[in-house]
Symmetry: C2
Subunit: 436 residues, 2 copies
Amino acid sequence: MDPTTKINIPESTLERVVIVGGGFGGLQLARKLVKADFQVVLIDRNNYHQFQPLFYQVAMAGLEPSSIVFPFRKLFQGEKNIFIRMAEVTHVDPVARQIQTPLGHCNYDHLIVATGADTNYYGNEELERRTLPMKSVSEALYLRNSILDDYEDALTTPVYDDRQELVDIVIVGGGATGVELAGSLAEMKTHVLPKDYPELEVEEEFDIYLVQSGDVVLKGMSADSSAKALKYLEELGVKVLLNTRVNAFDGKLVTLDDGRTIVTQKVIWAAGIKGVPVPGLPESAITYGNRLAVDRFCRVKDTENIYALGDVAYMEEPEFPKGHPQVAQVAIQMGEHLAKNLRYRHLRGEEWEPFHYHDKGSMATIGRARAVVDIPKPEFHFGGIMAWLVWLLVHLFAILGTRNKVVVFLNWLYNYINYNQSLRLIIRPRSVPESR
Amino acid sequence: MDPTTKINIPESTLERVVIVGGGFGGLQLARKLVKADFQVVLIDRNNYHQFQPLFYQVAMAGLEPSSIVFPFRKLFQGEKNIFIRMAEVTHVDPVARQIQTPLGHCNYDHLIVATGADTNYYGNEELERRTLPMKSVSEALYLRNSILDDYEDALTTPVYDDRQELVDIVIVGGGATGVELAGSLAEMKTHVLPKDYPELEVEEEFDIYLVQSGDVVLKGMSADSSAKALKYLEELGVKVLLNTRVNAFDGKLVTLDDGRTIVTQKVIWAAGIKGVPVPGLPESAITYGNRLAVDRFCRVKDTENIYALGDVAYMEEPEFPKGHPQVAQVAIQMGEHLAKNLRYRHLRGEEWEPFHYHDKGSMATIGRARAVVDIPKPEFHFGGIMAWLVWLLVHLFAILGTRNKVVVFLNWLYNYINYNQSLRLIIRPRSVPESR
């Protein structure tokens, strides 16, 4: 692409806000700038928003990708000041106030970096090459296909050790993703697989390992909830290895830091994330976890008119001296706050207000009728079926679109009644013509 | 794979029926052999049955793949005489009574070839390489992604001619698939695209061509229904080119046999099918359209204990001297009939009964409230909204599984009320680890 090519966006007398990334933060910002006196350009590599908290259910064949993602164009139908472009932003030039994409370049008056985070392998290239990540709906779908493929292969693998490689699964990381995935997999092992694969000894042969470097799971939650989550996982038959790290994985054998080994071909890596800032930003702005240092107004350090929010941003405030947790709530609140500063204070020449995060609590689900919830103020923790119902409701309301809500609700109801995720399908788009 | 490896299937004293292909015919046969005194092995390259009549709705973003496919294992849960293996059958040895797959070989007492049909390019390799087929749910999904990708690209393509390549679509073949696809695409053009892409001149610039070699569309139906379908298509703005063939397509330009050209990158090939028999069967058994010649008992010519049914079989009977139409009904009736002959007559040493096809009629839908139905006895044709409702009901009842019926019904209802297919998502499973 000729770098002088411009992305085709109409000229306008309005200031142009370019948002890179339509995750929780970027999308919230764009929605709050609808009908504002800005020309808003939302750039994402996909044509849809992804509801990350339910990726694990896609991987576990409980939900279809389409019911937890939402097309941007549908969301902004009829909004004349919002322009959507599907592209990867490859570079930003803060001096020229310009971003570069394979479609051409685009000038901005305000640039918002809402590019989120990606899987962190902490520099271990072997693990990066060989383990399965789960940071996008596409990766979740790939994981689903892999798991189902391997069970099919196990059927025609007569040797016990070879079969173990196919049916055992190691999950690395005891955060929400790892815990929810392990719980869901354990439920599938108990309720679905023995019926689908009567020829295999599911109960005896299928093992699920959860490897966690710390001494608790769900480290960010209360001690109470962490302990409860661990108990739930063990009740479900998950082998939780605390204070343990994965040192190596050669594609067939996992080696732990205490020398123990596990035979498996499938290692799911949910052990950490790192920010993915847009290339071209000053080195001095990059801080802990590859995140962009921002002030209380989301302004990226050593830049002008460039802001960051959500997982890619690192902001300190008195209550959170080591930055905010990298969760959806922070991104959403930052998006909303920045929109207000731009729309009401910037356009009227008023002084901006600093951001303050309101923690509404956190939760995780481990399986049917098993979940944990922490409420911060007044501090209160609870678990079991009540927590599970709260988890279901909160997530249902957070999903975009009435149709998706209904579809997800019906799927949950169906799976609950039938003990039976129904989407155990290995479907891959089949590319045929060579010219495409 | 060592050719002496055996597929891992338990030994049994029962005769073994191996069914290759779980389409309409193979699946019906397997279902009718549940609890029979046979060991049944169903081999398919996928782990699910596909409901082909609705592929076009997957391609048009109206339905999710998962709602029109059904996992074999779920269908046969708890059936002890049915074994499912996911593999491609690469060869049959009629003398050794053995089939070969990448998983190993498998002996049979009765082999049923139910491998169906695939796209027929009539020997034109250029068309095979460059056009888009639609004979599987994976291909339908790929087509959906291509169409949406190209609309996104059109947004950033300022030159009119370049844009035409992206937004115009040529469908080749005026059978049910071509007609239903064209009708559905035209509806999307009218109701959805102008809202999603206000920046493009959808009405003026987007053209849908349907190229048909014969002088009518839906050639297999009554003259009445063919004429009505043509009228419906033209009302929807589809440019139907009758008595026309595609001579060449270089990836950017379609050349018709009368010398006219159409600028487009997307040609959907629905112009014909050919049988895909398993390699290793005698040459003498292969007849018109690459199908296997069978007698009235589905026995493949010049073989023993090998049967064929559905699209891959060619059977003549007095009422159908040129063979049956290649439709789902024929396959289903053959599967059911062969099951009866095997289960009741073969096992009891009785004489087999010859197959006779009962034509229940045919139908096609062209868009909202537009469809045509032919009933054969007494002969009767009707169209319009009544035909459309009949089409909806018949297809809804034919879809496997209560959950799928409910999901498809809700999708249809939603799309009908909203004039808005909701699944306009470009999702591809993302492969990451190199070792897999």
